[in-house]
Symmetry: C2
DNA sequence: CTGGTAAATGAAAATCCTTTTCAGTTAGAT
DNA sequence: ATCTAACTGAAAAGGATTTTCATTTACCAG
């Protein structure tokens, strides 16, 4: 289930955040992108419709949306961070190593493993990060 | 199975890399550390025995060891990268969010999930990243 | 045991990405 | 319409990482 821009906006106001033109613009881009986006790339796209926006605002908005759980961070090799729209509920990513397309999936079924690890190591486990990397359908033919 | 410094050194020479004093020093620190280490932290430790080494060399050596699969990168929140000795074979990490201690584990059993995802999405999956985050035994009492 | 040579090193500078600061602006409650 | 805390953008600061380049060094050949 992909949330709509409207839905995200309403979460913001409910939480007491102001709904500025800049935030709307960032949200619109996030909602309409199927790939994950680094702050800089997102900034470029937002600028098409909102040329006066500052990169800093993009950073701040992404940070805020991320804390609210509305978008989530994608972990790539390590260079720059990226974000993608959060699906409702627990999910993970499948990232294309060539074009960066992100597919989400649910049903990781790691509870059992987590419990085993907790017992074995004494860790109090708070979360996990699971991500598959590969080539998406479109990129498989490409050299 | 933890590889020894000797073992790692021999891989380097086999691959045609020169075995310099600096590289030996970096390898020694990596092998003798149970935690994962960020380049800067590793640099500090290496300097104890090899004060003239440059941070750049540490970066370059880590990059090289990582490409050879002798160490592997640990993904934290996102700030700085870290590396830890690669165990032989397939394994994953359990990272303490407070002190950074890394425990390894094997047996992630994701083949089935991977196959399902491949079919559903058309991705040609090449690898995955699985990591649990939590508080290790020592850090659980701490405020 | 010498060279000779390509590879490796260290210091400084350059790049990136991200965060902080601060003065000016604005959304939304009253 | 007014007020105020929240928000914004520009610039500066901060950090991590990479590049550049002159110098040094490991190690192969002789």
């Amino acid at each position: 289930m992909r949330p709509t821009a409207r839905k995200i906006a309403s979460v913001l106001t409910q939480k007491g955040y102001k709904l500025t033109a800049q935030r709307r613009a960032v949200i619109d881009v996030v909602v309409s992108s199927s790939e994950h986006l680094a702050p800089a790339a997102l900034y470029e796209r937002v600028r098409r419709t909102h040329p006066a926006i500052g990169l800093v605002t993009v950073y701040r908005t992404l940070e805020m949306l991320s804390e609210l759980g509305l978008i989530c961070r994608v972990h790539r090799g390590g260079k720059s961070r990226s974000y993608t729209l959060a699906l409702l509920g627990h999910h993970h990513h499948l990232v294309c190593s060539r074009c960066g397309t992100v597919a989400d999936f649910t049903g990781c079924d790691l509870e059992e493993l987590q419990q085993r690890l907790s017992q074995d190591t004494g860790f109090k486990i708070e979360g996990h990060l699971l991500q598959f990397v590969g080539d998406c359908r479109n990129c498989q033919g490409v050299t």
